[in-house]
Amino acid sequence: MNKFTVSGSPHIQGDDSTKKIMYGVVIAMIPTVLFSIYFFGVDAIRVFLLAIVASLFFEWAIQKFLIKGPSTINDGSALVTAILLALNLPSNLPGWMVIIGALVAIGMAKMSFGGLGKNVFNPALVARVFLLVSFPVQMTSWPKPAPITDGLADVITGATPLGILKEGLDAGKTVSELTPELPTYTQGLMGEMGGSMGEVSALALLLGGVYMLWRKIITWHIPVSMLLTVAIFSGIFWGIDPEHHADPLFHMLTGGMLLGAIFMATDMVTSPMTKSGQLVFGFGIGLLTILIRMWGAYPEGVSFAILLMNATVPLINKGFKPRRFGIN
């Protein structure tokens, strides 16, 4: 006789899966990856490959020898972390630093919390900040983007637009004096400016964001509230004194703002569960970023802002509940 299965309802399931979500994020990152390879050449490929191989290895090794659970390298989460980590690094970073970054991301930020879904902080960002405070020189000398099509010229290193601005303003210069040194908006959009591999091209990042919105991997709440907060606050200061503050669009296009808003802050594991909570989360990141950019010691603050807000997620989850049916 046929043996039937008994289980509770529902008896059908949607075709969504963790794997699909993770590979969806990978697909969304492809334009950014291509742009960075275009601008930084072979070095970029080297960093990507190192980050991916090292992350997958650490994920496999820790799962096998320490946690002793089933292998999880196929679910794509380690791949996402690896690519995000690479996008957060300058392309000329020594290889062993990339490997240390991968170890910190997978081992310290993810697996020590219990693996996928249990980490409090975004693994790639933890690794970036770890590297930034450990190797400040290597992490802040960015090569100037030189499109592959220009041939393999000597790599010139330089500061990021935000760095130029911060140093300039601290030295008493005004924004209009600094403008010739800063990239134009078109350059910012296309990515012709100094920075980490994934921070350069706003266009590619936006493309990935639109793809993820369409696939319903992310919702609009976090990026929009974060960018809006940044625009409003930087707009206020710019309106008061345009000679000492950069305009909102400059803030949007430079540094890790878009990378953070689209790929890092929207990480499901480390962001709030409800839409209202996500709005608050985005607002907090935006505010902290502007505070760090304007008054902090670092020229860039997106990663710190996201990590700080990651820590508040359990609290936000407690405070911002979904609207219940039948409760007004």
Partner: protein
């Protein structure tokens, strides 16, 4: 057509798979033996009034209501009562049932078996309710709540709208759809009868826009009645839930833990409307119902009119047999239906469908770890956080589960459906509801 109405919170779009939508309703032959369970409705089981050896006719009372929330049961066949004994039900538990050996097909004289449609309403509100009560009608959508109880609002509450549920949001099921197409006129009269019973001035018939033929047909029929309106609703599961349907059609929210009458609404299924018509106008108690027999591997997905007490094996035979590789049989739809353990089970008042799933469809995907994507929260039609509730239930933190309103859960299964990690969220939620329900009962008894 503009923006279609639907409910506001959550919801999913499972693949519809309405395989039997074009299969006209066929009648299943009377079985050789009918097994009529005594507990066919929500609430108290019915009390048998026949004894072993009694001869019964079709439509004769077999068991009477065992309490206020209970319903009469009538004989679906004519013949001799073999015994009153335990019979296996869909879940494998054995519960009392009346076994009748069928002899001929002799109907009770009072039943009007002609095919004429009686549209004139002559009875008063109270008489209509009494007839519905006598006929043992329960909610035909699957919840099997006795209909006459719903038609008598508690003192101090009055109904404003009657909402007829023609949504049929469960995938695969088409029984209501076919009923609307084939028995539209009767459904309208049934609606009129219930409007009179409730003394309401307005009724809505809610139909999802994946059934354009039914919408057009019913629209045509209600042209003569300006107090009945067909409402086209955007396809979304679980729109057939009472609270969701009320929200979609009259934009009112039933408060948490309250009944629809709180916002002046009464919801009845189209199948119930048809049964009400038959009971009041034709004097025919609830002895048969339309059951969808379907599945991807089923040779002839069909809609079958079967007597209560017919073994489901006979229905599956009508659909040209149980497919070779059947791995799971479900009584009802795939979202809220129950897995059936054996083929000895018979059709009851609440059977809306029999769904046969292939082996490969029937097993669950292995549970992964929660990635906190909050999709369960987004799709929950009650605005709950299933990920949180399931964890609370898993860890035995029932106080937290209660605080987070686990009892509001209507078990629609949207959370489990949407979960990318395939966590059986609803299993955990049901477990939590069981335990929290016990705790609440103990507290109230003290």
């Amino acid at each position: 057509m503009g923006i279609l109405r639907t409910f506001a919170l959550g919801g999913i779009h499972p693949v519809e798979n309405k395989l039997s939508a074009n299969a006209p309703i066929e009648t299943v032959p009377v079985p050789k033996q009918a097994i009529v369970p005594l507990g066919q409705n929500l609430g108290a089981p019915s009390k048998p009034i026949v004894a072993k050896g009694d001869m019964v006719k079709v439509g004769q009372l077999l068991a009477e209501a065992g309490g206020f929330i209970s319903a009469n049961i009538h004989s679906p066949v004519s013949g001799k009562v073999l015994k009153i004994d335990n019979a296996i039900d869909g879940t494998g538990y054995k519960r009392p049932a009346i076994f009748i050996n069928v002899e001929g097909d002799e109907w009770d004289e009072s039943i009007d078996t002609s095919a004429d449609i009686v549209s004139e309403i002559t009875l008063s509100s109270k008489e209509i309710i009494d007839k519905i009560k006598d006929a043992g009608i329960v909610g035909m959508g699957g919840a099997t709540f006795p209909t006459h109880v719903k038609l008598m609002p508690p003192p101090g509450k009055t109904a404003e709208y009657l909402i007829i549920n023609g949504v049929e949001c469960e995938p695969y099921l088409t029984a209501d759809h076919r009923l609307m197409l084939e028995k539209g006129q009767e459904i309208i009269i049934g609606t009129k009868l219930m409007m009179k019973a409730l003394n309401v001035k307005k009724a809505f018939i809610g139909i999802e826009n994946n059934k354009p033929d039914a919408i057009n047909h019913i629209r045509e029929l209600v042209k003569a009645h300006d107090d009945i309106e067909v409402q086209v609703l955007k396809v979304q599961y679980p729109q057939g839930g009472e609270k969701q349907l009320i929200k979609a059609s009259v934009n009112r929210e039933v408060p948490s833990g309250k009944l629809p009458i709180e916002v002046g609404c009464v919801v009845q299924n189209v199948g119930t409307a048809f049964a009400v018509y038959e009971a009041v106008q034709k004097n025919k108690p609830l002895i048969e119902r339309v059951v969808t027999v379907t599945g991807k591997a089923v040779k002839r997905p069909s809609n079958l009119l079967a007597r209560i007490g017919t073994p489901i094996a006979a229905l599956i035979e009508m659909a040209e047999g149980l497919p070779e590789n059947t791995g799971k049989i479900i009584g009802g739809g795939p979202m809220m239906g129950k897995a059936i353990i054996s083929l000895e089970v018979t059709v009851v008042k609440g059977s809306s469908g029999i769904l046969m799933m292939k082996k490969e469809e029937s097993s669950r995907i292995v549970e992964g770890s929660c990635i906190r994507c909050s999709k369960c929260t987004y799709v929950c039609p009650m605005g709950l956080e299933p990920h949180l509730l399931s964890k609370a239930a898993k860890l035995g933190n029932y106080e937290m589960a209660e605080d987070e309103a686990i009892m509001d859960c209507m078990e629609c299964g949207s959370c489990h459906y949407a979960c990318p990690a395939s966590i059986p969220l609803l299993d955990y939620l049901r477990l939590g509801k069981l335990k929290v329900g016990q705790i609440i009962r103990n507290r109230n008894n003290k």
